[in-house]
């Protein structure tokens, strides 16, 4: 980069000019930071405003642009300057300062109410925003500090130089069922080479083993003959797709765009260079042998829904019951068999209700007098499958009742007698059937054989606990059992799971994503779903896989910091091989060299900065985001000596807390004026060194505002806010060394929609700090 030259541009509209002394702000930039190019403009986002900035860039060599105006979440197109050449820093004076300080005085904290607000009463009234008649001292100080921090941040930032690499764009699709076939086909149609592996000898998976399949087209009413063969033929005919059947993945090493996958087939192994992976290995039925309480294994005529399907295939729809081969004309179906049951599968497989309805139709179609009784906890036919439910229910032979089966017996002739309580028939009933079908659930194929219960598994990985001695103490972690991917990753051979073995990321925010960048899951391996949903899932995963290689080729991050060209750089000379970074990285980016130093795999990185926060040596930095930069921002905060003007730092996550503050500002909700906000990519980047530094500089307290973690986590980087919280546990030591109360540093979990709670959260913390009394380091 050429000689750094700052330009500071202050917008004075949207109420900013009325609420703040703009000239004073200009003077801070000019006098304190010696910035030559300082301009204040009404409507900085206007044509004239942006043109003025461009002119200064082009004619005066400004290359670090500080925009002190509105939130970076708005007007991003107007203030979009080539990030590879220029640093752009947005100081959010509007939402975070002016608008959130406009609320009624009665809501202001005590200290604010006492303040000589009248001193600024002389300021000129503003026509545009009558709600802000005068410059408030506290608001002005807040704006000044934020401007200082913005200028410092810009000073310390460099435009990132993307780590561009040669990439192979072939997509490896593992699993040749309904999901994998569609993933392969859609990737191939998009112009990408695909290697499709299937461990069985033939493609098709479960979809090929069905007598009939669920409706897959509007109006979603009728079952139809299996059509997977068309998909198989299309895959086999496509020139971009290489199909490897009877194939297993022995090893995958590398990173997105540069993976080497070793695939063994017929006893010989070959290594293929690939770009990204879609894991579509599907599901297996829950082991019905564990359901002896439902008569399975004890009575011949109690079968699972999977067995029922093969019986239907064998009899072309007519069901010969196992005990005597008699045609089953009265078939009972028990839903949720071993499902939504803490002893078995605690979750709903979401498909079995449709499957039972489908199989009930086999029964009724096989004979005019035949009927099927479905006993359910709840009928769950999501989405348009409601139409299928309606259509099946309309069949006179399909009889449904909610109920709990209290007893299952056999009458001596092979007939199964069910006693059902809490029915909607109005009483406890006994009904006789020729056969009972248990609607057993789906288990992800990521679950290795031999795991007794999905609820019994170790957290995150399915494997064994391992303790490692390091300079820094003992690190306890789970070493995963190999199942499908056999990744050569420091964090283990398989994907971490969220619950019950499903290797999913956040199912709402990031479908298909896993915690291994470049490796995506689709279909029933990640969540129970039908063949149609799986096929659609495959399309989504294909797009993710393509995105991943394309962005890797440009040295850019994938979701959620899509397009970010920065990446963590490690100053190895000071590395102590403590392994904190390799352990804490939520995405398994860092491997370890023999000696324990981290080995970066840039295209795996999501740029959250958790490693930066984890590093006790503070040697991990981004070009535009570093421990030193944030420490300097903190130092830029002016700490007044008066006790009535405490200073509190809030580290705010850019994903939820930042927009929450924006929304609070938009709603003109008054927040505490003594806070100074520092934006974090993720709270996972929080480095403990800041806390000691800032507290010893007289800052009263630290509030970390981040996303929810643990079970219902909302962290965009999965573990970042949790990692920050764990680190805070260790901060006590630091604080007691400084003879400070440990509660001076706290973390709150805040979702974006909880913005209305911000004033209370902030005031409560401020009140607590007030009780501790002023920071004794103040003024030193």
């Amino acid at each position: 980069m050429a000689d750094p030259k700052l330009g500071v541009y202050i917008c004075s509209d949207c109420g900013i000019g009325g609420a703040l002394d703009i000239e004073a702000l200009e003077n801070i930039a000019k006098n304190q930071y010696r910035v030559e190019n300082v301009q204040s403009v009404p409507f900085l986002c206007s044509q004239e405003g942006t043109q003025m900035i461009k002119d200064e860039i082009n004619n005066q060599g400004v290359n670090k642009i500080v925009i002190a105006a509105c939130s970076p979440r708005v007007h991003y197109d107007e203030f979009d300057f080539d990030p590879s050449k220029y640093v752009t820093e947005r100081v959010n004076l509007r939402e975070h300062v002016v608008w959130s300080q406009m609320g009624g005085a009665e809501e202001a904290p005590e200290a604010a109410a006492e303040a000589p607000a009248a001193a600024a009463a002389a300021a000129a009234p503003v026509e545009a925003e009558p709600a802000a008649p005068a410059v408030n001292e506290f608001t002005q100080e807040m704006a000044e500090d934020h401007l200082r921090m913005g200028i410092v941040r810009a000073q310390k930032s460099e435009p990132p130089e993307p780590a561009i690499m040669d990439v192979e764009k072939t997509v490896l699709v593992i699993g040749g069922g309904a999901t994998g076939l569609n993933t392969a086909l859609e990737s191939a149609k998009a112009g990408y080479k695909v290697i499709l592996t299937e461990k069985e000898a033939e493609l098709g998976g479960w979809a090929r083993k069905m007598y009939k399949i669920l409706p897959d087209k509007a109006p979603f009413e009728d079952v139809k003959a299996p059509n997977i063969d068309e998909k198989i033929a299309a895959v086999q005919a496509h020139e971009n797709i290489t199909v490897l059947t009877g194939a297993n993945i022995d090893r995958i090493e590398g990173m997105p765009g540069q993976y080497d996958a070793t695939i063994s087939q017929n006893g010989s192994a070959n290594t293929h260079r690939i770009g990204s992976v879609v894991l579509a290995i599907g599901w297996k039925p829950y082991d019905a042998k564990k359901l002896d309480n439902l008569g399975y294994g004890e009575f011949k005529n109690v079968v699972t829904n999977v067995e029922m399907e093969s019986m239907a295939v064998a009899g072309s729809g007519s069901i010969a019951r196992p005990s005597d081969g008699k045609q089953a004309k009265r078939v009972a179906f028990l839903q949720c068999a071993g499902q939504r049951d803490p002893e078995h599968l605690p979750y709903c497989s979401s498909v079995c209700c449709m499957t039972s309805l489908k199989q009930a139709l086999y029964v009724t179609e096989s004979d005019a007098d035949a009927n099927a009784f479905i006993i359910y906890k709840d009928m769950r036919t999501p989405g348009l499958y409601e139409n299928f439910y309606k259509a099946a229910q309309n069949n006179p032979g399909v009889m449904l009742t909610k109920g709990e089966v209290t007893s299952i017996t056999e009458d001596g002739t092979g007939n199964i007698v069910l006693e059902i309580d809490n029915t909607i028939l109005g009483e406890k009933v006994r009904v006789e059937a020729d056969m009972l079908v248990l609607a057993t659930g789906m288990v992800t194929n990521m679950l290795p054989e031999g795991v007794e219960k999905v609820t019994d598994m170790t957290p995150e990985y399915i494997g064994q606990w391992k303790e490692t001695e390091t300079q820094d103490g003992i690190i306890k972690e789970v070493i995963a059992d190999p199942v499908a991917l056999n990744l050569a990753y420091r964090q283990g051979p398989e994907l971490p799971y969220l619950k019950y073995g499903f290797p999913d990321s956040h199912f709402v925010c990031f479908p298909y994503e896993t915690r291994r960048t470049g490796i995506y899951t689709a279909g029933a391996v990640r969540a129970p779903m039908t063949a149609l949903q799986s096929a659609n899932d495959g399309v989504g995963a294909a797009l993710k896989a393509i995105q991943s290689v394309e962005l890797a080729a440009q040295g850019k991050a994938v979701h959620p910091r899509s397009g970010d060209e920065s990446f963590p750089e490690i100053n190895f000379t000071n590395c102590t091989q403590c392994r904190r970074c390799t352990v804490e990285c939520p995405f398994g980016v860092l491997d370890e060299e023999e000696n324990g130093t981290p080995k970066t795999n840039t295209s795996r990185c999501r740029r959250c900065g958790t490693c930066m926060g984890a590093c006790p040596q503070r040697i991990i930095s981004f070009k535009n985001y570093s421990v030193g930069m944030i420490a300097d921002q903190m130092k830029a905060i002016k700490v007044p000596e008066e006790d009535s003007k405490p200073r509190i730092i809030a580290l705010i996550c850019e994903n939820d807390a930042y927009p929450a503050l924006d929304i609070a500002g938009l709603n003109r909700i008054k927040t505490n004026p003594f806070y100074r906000f520092i934006t974090m990519r993720c709270l996972g980047g929080t480095n403990l060194v800041w806390i000691a530094d800032a507290l010893s500089a007289g800052i009263e307290g630290f509030l970390l505002i981040g996303c929810r973690f643990d079970d219902d986590y909302q962290c965009h980087f999965i573990k970042g806010s949790k990692a920050a919280n764990e680190r805070l546990g260790k901060v006590q030591e630091t604080l007691s060394r400084l003879m400070l109360e440990s509660e001076r540093v706290q973390q709150v979990q805040l979702a974006m929609n909880e913005w209305d709670q911000l004033p209370k959260i902030m005031n409560d913390f401020a009140d607590q700090l007030k009780e501790f009394g002023p920071n004794p380091f103040k003024g030193f």
């Binding site: 309480n293 209290t406 028939l425 006994r430 009904v431």
Partner: protein, 435 residues
């Protein structure tokens, strides 16, 4: 705690050993365990036999949408007529789906329903509970009015010609034997000129043959009804006993209040969506009452004097006579009533998703024919248009006979079965009447 123990004991009926042990150990620990024994008997599971054939029959009898019900119970909440405890028609919808005919027919609730169709109008799934109740009612008639195939015939449009042929043939034969296909006008009888030149229907078919034919079928219907009532009452009692609420005694004591309720049409008055049905049904109800009285009076005038050797008055009666006092208002009320019923059906068509079943419309049509031809017969007679009067009269007689023959098998039977069910509901305490 005691309650919990009771519950667990119940649940373990036939369940795994482990739970039994838990219950037992709890019973030991809890001194009030003896209460568990004293508690009401453990509910026994009731054996049910789903009958897909019955479901199909119900569907073809007008309950076409019964399978759509998903048991939200909006119907029972909407209904103003159901008792609060185990309300209808939700449970009937479920029984209908499972083909549990004994439960459906052994339950007086089918007739407590008056087809207001508040439920049908509010059903979110279009399952038309009111229509289903009506179809079950039809199946009930078919089950208890023997021989049952006649109800099936009455309910089957393709059997209409056959069903119509019976009364027509009977009348044709009777006219052939006792009357005349080419009746002359009024004539000299014993030297007296009887309505000379006028149309006298008696010459078409005389008084005695008419009395003979109609009385025999009337009596036959009474017998069929009597047998039906007996077996229906038995079925109601048996079902109540099965449900653990046996009843004692006959229902005669309760018949009075039931009839009072019928005369005031109180239950119809509770309908929201189709409140106009009260008026229309009341018209037709009292029309039948008046016409029945007219028939009684005319029989008395004709045959009464014979008892003391006097001379009966044969029809036609003068326009101002005691018979016409009942007959004219009866005919008018009948015409208005059946007209309103027809109009209402069309008016509510959209709201209720249809016009109603064939079974209903057959009765409506017969009554329309009956009323129109009855009035027509009088009008054409007075106008002295023989070519129209006699055929009209013949159709009228056929319609009346149709009604008589098929009364126990057609929708007409509702008057008997509903009365029985309402009486039973009072006896059993299921429904003690409406306010």
């Amino acid at each position: 705690m005691a309650d919990e123990t009771v519950e667990k004991t119940e649940d373990t009926a036939g369940a795994g050993e482990e739970i039994t042990e838990t219950a037992a150990s709890e019973a030991e620990a809890v001194p009030v365990a003896s209460e568990a024994e004293a508690a009401p008997a453990v509910r026994e599971a009731v054996a049910i036999t789903p009958d897909v054939g019955f479901v199909k029959e119900l569907i073809s009898s007008g309950g076409a949408d019964l399978k759509k019900c998903y048991q939200c119970a909006t119907c029972s909440v909407a209904c103003n007529l159901t008792p609060d405890a185990s309300p209808f028609p939700r449970k009937e919808m479920m029984w209908a789906q499972w083909g549990l005919k004994d439960k459906l027919m052994g339950n007086p609730d089918i007739w407590l329903c008056h087809q207001c169709n508040d439920c049908t109008a509010q059903c979110p799934r279009g399952a038309k509970p009111g229509t289903v109740m009506n179809a079950v009612a039809k199946m009930t008639i078919s089950r208890f009015s023997k021989p049952g195939f006649l109800t099936k015939g009455v309910g089957n449009p393709s059997a209409l010609i056959l069903m119509m042929a019976l009364p027509i043939a009977i009348l044709a034969v009777a006219i052939g034997i006792f009357g005349s296909y080419s009746p002359t006008r009024g004539e000299m009888v014993d030297g007296k000129l009887q309505h000379a030149g006028d149309i006298v229907y008696g010459q078409f078919l005389g008084h005695w043959p008419i009395v003979g034919v109609f009385t025999s079928f009337f009596v036959l219907s009474i017998i069929v009804f009597a047998l039906g009532i007996r077996s229906y009452w038995g079925a109601l009692k048996a079902h109540a006993a099965d449900e653990g609420q046996p009843i004692a005694g006959s229902g005669f004591g309760k018949l009075g209040p039931v009839i009072g309720e019928i005369f005031t049409h109180k239950r119809f008055g509770k309908c929201d969506e189709t409140e106009d049905r009260k008026t229309s049904h009341m018209f037709i109800f009292y029309a039948f009452g008046l016409l029945f009285l007219a028939t009684i009076v005319s029989t008395l005038l004709t045959d009464g004097p014979l008892l003391w050797g006097g001379e009966g008055v044969l029809s036609p009666y003068p326009t101002i006579s005691v018979v016409k006092l009942f007959a004219y208002p009866g005919a008018a009320a009948g015409l208005i009533g059946i007209g309103l019923i027809t109009i209402n059906r069309f008016k509510h068509q959209e709201k209720l998703g249809g016009l109603g079943s064939y079974f209903d419309w057959l009765l409506i049509s017969v009554i329309i024919v009956l009323m129109v031809t009855g009035i027509g017969s009088v009008a054409f007679r007075l106008a002295n248009i023989g070519a129209l009067a006699f055929p009209t009269y013949f159709v009228h007689l056929s319609a009346v006979l149709f009604l008589f023959i098929y009364a126990p098998f057609s929708k007409m039977a509702h008057m008997v079965y509903r009365t029985v069910a309402l009486t039973f509901a009072r006896v059993s305490g299921r429904d003690l009447g409406v306010d």
